[in-house]
């Protein structure tokens, strides 16, 4: 028998530990449906919001709320392309970037990343990622990626895919090659070993909340 409901389950998004707990209390008290997911921003650059309180609240042994991590690449900044850092690290990108800058107008050249990326398309949507401290953190994560033969995208995504408290990671792409890189990064979860995690955590110690304005 197939049971068809209008909705099967309910969840939260952009919530705080207080909100998750209040919903959990109300569910218990009145015998109402439980919130089973929380969709919050979670990435190498935006860790502390979730990790400082929600990891405990949402743990399977506590309220059992699965994290659906959004913006795992911070609108593209964790791909490393937007930081100009790749100019220094990859010869083929030197050619590519200078060629791009050559053909782009001044408006483009002054920007830090391609005009079509979400960072630039939506004024004010994510200015927090453009500030220099976030860029510095990205450079450090790019270093770790290159050292271990990963692209920055692969590192950022595989790290997120692998986190125990992440139920599912929401990826977004505007082109098929981007989408494929995001999906192929799932094959790298075994590459992100304890050594890499330790290196990442070392950077995290210095950049707790680099996107905070």
């Amino acid at each position: 028998m197939i049971v068809i409901n209008i909705i099967n389950a309910v969840g939260l998004s952009n919530e705080t530990p207080y909100g998750v707990m209040k919903f959990a209390q109300a569910s218990e008290k009145f015998g109402l449906p439980r919130m089973i997911t929380i969709q919050n921003s979670y990435s190498l650059l935006v860790r502390s919001d979730f990790e400082s309180g929600l990891t405990e609240v949402c743990s399977p042994s506590n309220e059992n709320v699965g994290l659906l991590a959004y913006s795992p690449l911070c609108g593209g900044i964790l791909t490393g392309f937007s930081t100009m850092y790749m100019l220094e690290t990859n010869f083929s990108t030197v050619i590519l970037s200078s060629y791009l800058y050559y053909f782009m107008s001044g408006k483009y050249a002054r920007e830090d990343c391609p005009k079509t990326s979400r960072l630039n398309l939506f004024e004010g949507l994510m200015p927090r990622y453009k500030q220099s401290i976030a860029q510095d953190a990205v450079k450090e994560y790019c270093d770790i990626a290159t050292k271990h033969d990963l692209t920055p995208t692969e590192l950022a995504l595989a790290w997120c895919y692998k986190q125990k408290h992440v139920a599912s990671t929401i990826i977004g792409a505007t082109s098929i090659p981007q989408l494929r890189e995001n999906l192929n990064s799932y094959g790298k979860i075994h590459v992100v070993d304890d050594e890499i995690i330790a290196e990442i955590n070392d950077v995290y110690k210095r950049y707790r909340d680099p996107s905070r304005m």
Binding site: N5, N14, L32, F91, Y102, T116, K147, R180
Partner: protein
């Protein structure tokens, strides 16, 4: 086409190869470009002589060639082969990488089994066309074993009255004729916003998360998606005040009245029960 009087307007005219030790595979030599400032050709000059080329248009290709040759001559013995291997690796990554095997996980205590990677949709209808959205769905679901997608009533972003609902319509088109039970759809009821006054069924009022808003929002989402159920409905952001989207620290003075946690949950409870009623009538129809 070229900026006037900026460093970029002059483009690269000075290229040096610098061996730089960076923490990259034990330290290697890398190409470093530096930019020398030469004033760009002014608009007046260009008016007088329309065929005049900006310095950048001449120097950039030359410099590119120069960079390549310098790299060849001065690079360490393995630099070119390393470059080749970089390129080859890039290609192999793109073309020959085996499709990774997907894992699945149950959400919370539910029996919804979703892929560890969820397909986001918020660009479809804004940055991506319907055809592109459908192609993304095909690639993710057919090739990579994804079974989970996430949309919202206000998508695509940035939310606008002209485009609101477009993302759902892309999904609806793709869903048609597909086995619905193989797809886990997550959507969202918008949180409180005075600015967003164009959501359907709200009579031009701003978005809230009252019981009525939740019921209307889900009904409208079902219509747009062309399906009779949504697997997971999320509250996009809280009805009460919280610092949102990387905003400042919590500010007590911004606290406001909000629909209770209980009221919001009761709305979802009703939606789940309604579905069961609907299901009941179906069974009796069949028998």
């Amino acid at each position: 086409m070229f900026p006037k009087g900026t460093a970029w307007g002059t483009c690269f005219v000075h290229v040096v190869l610098r061996r730089e030790q960076i923490s990259l595979r034990g330290g290697k030599s890398f190409l470093k470009c530096s930019v020398l400032h030469i004033p760009a050709i002014s608009e007046e000059d260009q008016d007088q002589c329309p065929n005049l080329l900006q310095p950048a248009m001449i120097t950039a290709p030359v410099v590119l060639l120069l960079m390549v040759s310098l790299f060849k001559v001065q690079g360490s013995r393995s630099s070119m082969s390393r470059t080749r291997s970089y390129v080859a690796k890039g290609f192999s990554n793109m073309k020959m990488m085996a499709t990774p095997e997907m894992d699945y996980i149950n959400l919370g205590s539910s029996d919804l089994s979703v892929s560890k990677v969820c397909l986001g949709t918020m660009t479809w209808g804004q940055q991506n066309t319907m055809a592109e959205g459908i192609e993304q769905l095909d690639v993710a679901f057919k090739e990579y074993g994804i079974n989970f997608l996430d949309t919202a009533e206000m998508y695509p972003v940035p939310t606008k009255p002209e485009t609101q609902g477009e993302t759902d319509r892309v999904i609806a088109k793709w869903l048609k004729g597909r086995d619905r039970s193989k797809v886990i759809i997550a959507s969202k009821v918008s949180g409180a916003s005075e600015r967003i006054t164009w959501l359907p069924g709200r009579n031009g009022n701003g978005a809230r998360v009252s019981k009525k808003d939740i019921m209307v929002s889900v009904e409208e989402s079902l219509k747009r998606l062309g399906t009779d159920y949504i697997d997971l409905v999320q509250i996009h952001w809280p009805d009460r005040y919280v610092p949102l989207f990387g905003g400042a620290a919590y500010d007590q003075s911004l606290e406001r009245e909000f629909y209770s946690f209980e009221e919001q949950l009761r709305a979802f409870d009703d939606l789940i029960k309604q579905g069961k009623v609907r299901h009941g009538t179906r069974i009796s129809d069949i028998s």
